[in-house]
């Protein structure tokens, strides 16, 4: 049986892809002949931009070399254009004089650059940007000329401009519209891109109407409608493409804007098919490669005898191929009835916009960070309902997918993905620890890899990795987490049992509650010490050895093992004698750094441990006490000048602050506790990011709680308004006591309130009996806690061993 003959006109991307697809489906079914007008084998046209930019060689972009044609028995005629089709005889004829008969004919002849109908368009030096010869012409022009003008600020024009600039030309882009790449970009992204390209020395003139190209024998200038004239040794026209239809017209096929095909890629002649940029399908023409791949499959199906296959159109996405510019665009924007989600990061130059209609993505523009482009594009193509992802959608797949399927997102992360930012631990390391080191809990992973050992923000991720890696073998911890690996009980349970079972020492707790370690660890011991102290004021004896070094020696350890000393400055106020005493101490002990802190007092940094008692003694003599800058306890009470001095002040914030600090200093709390008092709503003391913030208003005081600076900034919730200073003090004491009794160790007021809810806290505070009782309990505990730890130690009576060496040895020789 003789084979059917397939002739392909056009040795470009769509035609050869169709042949490849056909060879997969029906190898050997056809005798294939390919005619290509270009003198080259099939190459990747979209990579002409990197070739122009000098980033790739032509050899690197060849898709199928001549040996491929040979190996597949395909007859290839390059550099030979087909000029006629005889549909009755079923033959094609080339310019080179070849006539070849076909049973099936495939037209894949692409498109031509649009040439503006302006004077001078045919001058030498005016070219398009379509094939390798254009690239060669541009590179040659750059060798001899200086000025290039690119007409058209779309994808092609900008890639040409970038390439020409890289070839050393001074490039001006003329664009008719106000925004470059306006079909793919919105104004914001267009502006970012323009700024980037201008930064690379490319001049961009928008709203530029080109009127004429001037030159004597070759191009010399370009004139704009407003009269401006630009020097030009080369003009690249990149104002669009026009489907190549001439051959189809000549053959009498149905032609519109493109060669008309049906859903099977068949033209008006049943034996002639067509694919690529030359076709018009359902009224649509295309200018990107993605649709060609879909067309090629359908076309190959039909050639291979699978009649049910149909092409229904393609939505495509664009990336700009300019090295160093990240740009991704898909779908539409700017339509009526759509909503936007926008994210900007000015410092990083990131802009992201997602356009939604009825909770479905219809378009996206990403600039600066495009890694989620394909994901958005998939959601767009699938017309996925994004309502469940909406809150995190703009942050990308990691964030968004977690909300939907927490495990898929984690499983999809590459091994190099960073899990723990604090300790630089990536996914591969964590998975290896789980698989190879037998880690089966977050605690194990933490011990072996340090992941989640610092801020703990990645604990959830680590848990998911455990679940993904171990599958059913992972027993997720249900309910509240145990305090630490020494017990299976959670903080709240331990606290409850301490009270109910009247446990009054650390060993008693560990015994009664079946601790799994002998003496606990550095994490549960300080917590238990605090819980016991809070539960049994006056009865429990503080265990110094269960405290972190800073609380043990009442100063902050520094990276070099020295300490810092921060004396209390009530409400941020000081005076000459305090300052003089500080100055004397600094000189006497040669303290290297004196700094005003963010908490309105003075920090003496670099004090030797053994000098601490003497430093404190001197400060005590001037009336100063510990500022507890090291404590899980009351830190500072910041104030503004208030009505004492300020022309806007409505209440005496300084004295209010001092009263608060005098009442509360020395108290131990689950985490540090900071206060501030502002004299009016201008709030110069920043009271609304404090654990307890007081803001004066005309009628009294607003009390705010649960604020936090630090890693996760949180503004306060308004707790209530009160009228008198005494009420401020009472609510403050009651609030502190509620926090002391109910929050977990190392839980600041902000996360505590987020956990229990401000309504709960407010209800407790508004119940006068509860409030008074809390306040009384607070004042009672203060009897035992309001003792200056510095004075105790300066006297040499307490913890002397901390500051004096056990022994001092001298070198052998000297003995």
């Amino acid at each position: 049986m003789t084979k059917e003959r397939l002739v392909v006109i056009g040795n470009g991307m769509a035609g050869i892809r169709t042949v490849e697809e056909l060879l997969l489906r029906a190898p050997g079914r056809y005798d294939i002949t390919v005619f290509g007008a270009e003198p080259h084998p099939n190459y990747n046209r979209i990579m002409l931009s990197p070739v122009l930019a000098g980033e790739k060689s032509f050899e690197q972009i060849i898709l199928n070399g001549r040996d491929w044609y040979e190996a597949n028995g395909i007859t290839l005629h390059t550099g030979d254009r087909i000029e006629g089709i005889d549909r009755t005889a079923k033959t094609v004829t080339s310019v080179g004089g070849k006539t070849v008969a076909y049973d099936k004919l495939l037209l894949a002849i692409g498109s031509d650059p649009v040439v503006l109908p302006i004077p001078g368009k045919e001058l030498p030096g005016v070219i398009g940007f379509r094939d390798l010869s254009d690239v060669e012409a541009m590179v040659a022009a750059a060798k001899t000329g200086t000025h290039a003008v690119v007409i058209g600020g779309g994808l092609l024009g900008l890639e040409a401009a970038n390439g020409l600039a890289l070839n050393g030309m001074e490039v001006t882009v003329l664009h008719l519209m106000g925004t470059i790449m306006e079909r793919q970009l919105d104004e914001a992204a267009g502006w970012l891109l323009q700024a980037e390209l201008e930064g690379r020395g490319i001049k961009i003139i928008t709203k530029a109407q080109t009127e004429a190209i001037l030159g004597d024998g070759k191009v010399q200038k370009v004139r704009l409608a407003d009269g401006r004239e630009l020097d030009a040794d080369l003009v690249v026209m990149a104002v669009g493409i026009r489907p190549n239809t001439a051959l189809g017209k000549l053959a009498g096929l149905e032609v519109n804007r493109g060669i008309v095909v049906d859903d099977r890629m068949v033209t008006s002649d049943p034996d002639i098919l067509s694919v690529g940029e030359c076709v018009e399908h359902r009224g649509q023409t295309y200018g990107l490669v993605a649709p060609l791949w879909d067309m090629a499959k359908v076309c190959a199906d039909h050639l291979a005898g699978a009649p049910e296959s149909a092409y229904t159109g393609t939505v495509s996405a664009t990336r700009l191929k300019v090295t160093g510019v990240e740009l991704y665009s898909a779908g539409t924007f700017g339509d009526a009835g759509t909503e936007d989600i926008v994210f900007r990061d000015g410092a990083r130059g990131v802009y992201k916009r997602i356009v939604l209609r009825d909770n479905r993505i219809v378009g996206t523009v990403l600039y600066g960070d495009t890694k989620d482009g394909p994901w958005y594009f998939q959601l767009l193509k699938d017309a996925e309902d994004i309502a469940p992802l909406r809150d995190t959608l703009i942050f990308g797949q990691g964030a968004g997918a977690q909300a939907q399927d927490p495990f898929a997102a984690v499983a999809a992360l590459p091994d190099t993905a960073e899990i723990c930012g604090c300790n630089g631990v990536n996914k591969g390391t964590v998975v290896a620890a789980i698989r190879d080191k037998g880690c089966c809990s977050v605690e194990d992973v933490r011990t072996h890899t340090k992941a989640s050992a610092s801020c703990g923000g990645c604990t959830g991720l680590v848990e998911k990795l455990l679940a993904c890696t171990l599958g059913d073998g992972y027993q997720a911890q249900t309910g509240p987490k145990p305090m630490c690996k020494c017990t299976h009980l959670a903080h709240d349970d331990v606290r409850r049992l301490i009270v109910i079972d009247k446990l009054k020492s650390i060993p008693a707790v560990m015994q009664a509650l079946e601790w799994t370690t002998a003496e606990g660890c550095a994490s549960c011991r300080p917590a238990l010490n605090y819980y016991l102290m809070c539960a049994w004021p006056g009865e429990y004896k503080d265990d110094n050895q269960s405290r972190f070094i800073n609380e043990r020696v009442h100063a902050n350890i520094q990276k070099d093992g020295t300490y810092s000393v921060v004396p209390r400055m009530w409400g941020g106020l000081t005076n000459a004698s305090e300052l003089r005493a500080i100055a004397d101490v600094v000189e006497r002990f040669q303290i290297p750094t004196v700094k005003v802190t963010g908490g309105q007092r003075i920090d003496l940094l670099g004090v030797k441990k053994e000098d601490l008692p003497a430093v404190w003694s001197d400060l005590n003599k001037a009336g100063m006490v510990s500022g507890h800058a090291y404590a899980k306890g009351l830190r500072t009470v910041k104030t503004c000048v208030g009505s004492e001095w300020c022309r806007f002040g409505t209440q005496a914030s300084m004295s209010m602050g001092v009263k608060l600090e005098k009442m509360t200093w020395g108290t131990w709390t689950p985490h540090k506790f900071k206060m501030a008092v502002s004299g009016c709503p201008r709030n110069c003391a920043e009271a609304t990011i404090k654990d307890f913030g007081v803001v004066a208003v005309d009628s009294g005081w607003e009390l705010h709680v649960g604020g936090n600076g630090g890693l996760h900034v949180r503004a306060t919730d308004l707790l209530m308004k009160v009228e008198t200073e005494d009420e401020v003090l009472e609510v403050c004491g009651a609030f502190l006591q509620l926090y002391r009794e109910e929050a977990r160790y190392l839980e600041r007021t902000a996360p505590w309130i987020e956990r229990v809810g401000i309504d709960y806290v407010r209800a407790r505070m508004e119940d006068v009996e509860v409030r008074e009782a809390l306040h009384q309990r607070f004042l009672y505990s203060q009897k035992f806690e309001q003792i200056d730890p510095w004075a105790e130690r300066a006297s040499g009576a307490v913890d002397n061993h901390e500051f004096a060496p056990l022994a001092s040895l001298v070198p052998l020789a000297a003995e």
């Binding site: 003496e519 070094i549 990276k559 061993h801 060496p805 052998l812």
Partner: protein
């Protein structure tokens, strides 16, 4: 490492001079030595420099036969100085013994000066 050297011992103080689950420093020519007393009254000695970042181990929290460095929280086994967990490293141990309630360090001058 000192096996071949004759061991000499220096008394530095009494066990009760150190708080349980605590440590004190012995100043020595080659650098400070941290002497630990566990909850069970055992005594161990390490050089008072965390191998991670020179943290003074004598300032850490002592739990069982371990100490947690005050600077970044690495945990060391007092018996052999090995760290527990990732980035294994080792704090230098100093020979120590208790004779009738008195703590003696083994040839600390030699070991310290030899490596300084």
């Amino acid at each position: 490492m000192n096996a071949m050297l004759p061991q000499s011992w220096v008394a530095v103080g009494r066990v009760t001079d150190i708080p349980r689950r605590g440590a004190r420093v012995v100043k020595a020519p080659g650098g400070d030595i941290a002497v630990f007393r566990t909850g069970a009254d055992e005594v161990y000695a390490l050089r008072d420099r965390c191998p991670h970042g020179n943290g003074p181990l004598s300032n850490g929290i002592v739990h069982d036969r371990k100490v947690t460095c005050p600077l970044h929280g690495m945990v060391f086994d007092l018996t052999d100085g090995h760290s527990i967990g990732p980035d294994a490293c080792q704090a230098r141990t100093i020979p120590v013994r208790v004779v009738a309630g008195v703590i003696e360090l083994g040839n600390p001058l030699y070991t310290e000066t030899a490596s300084a």
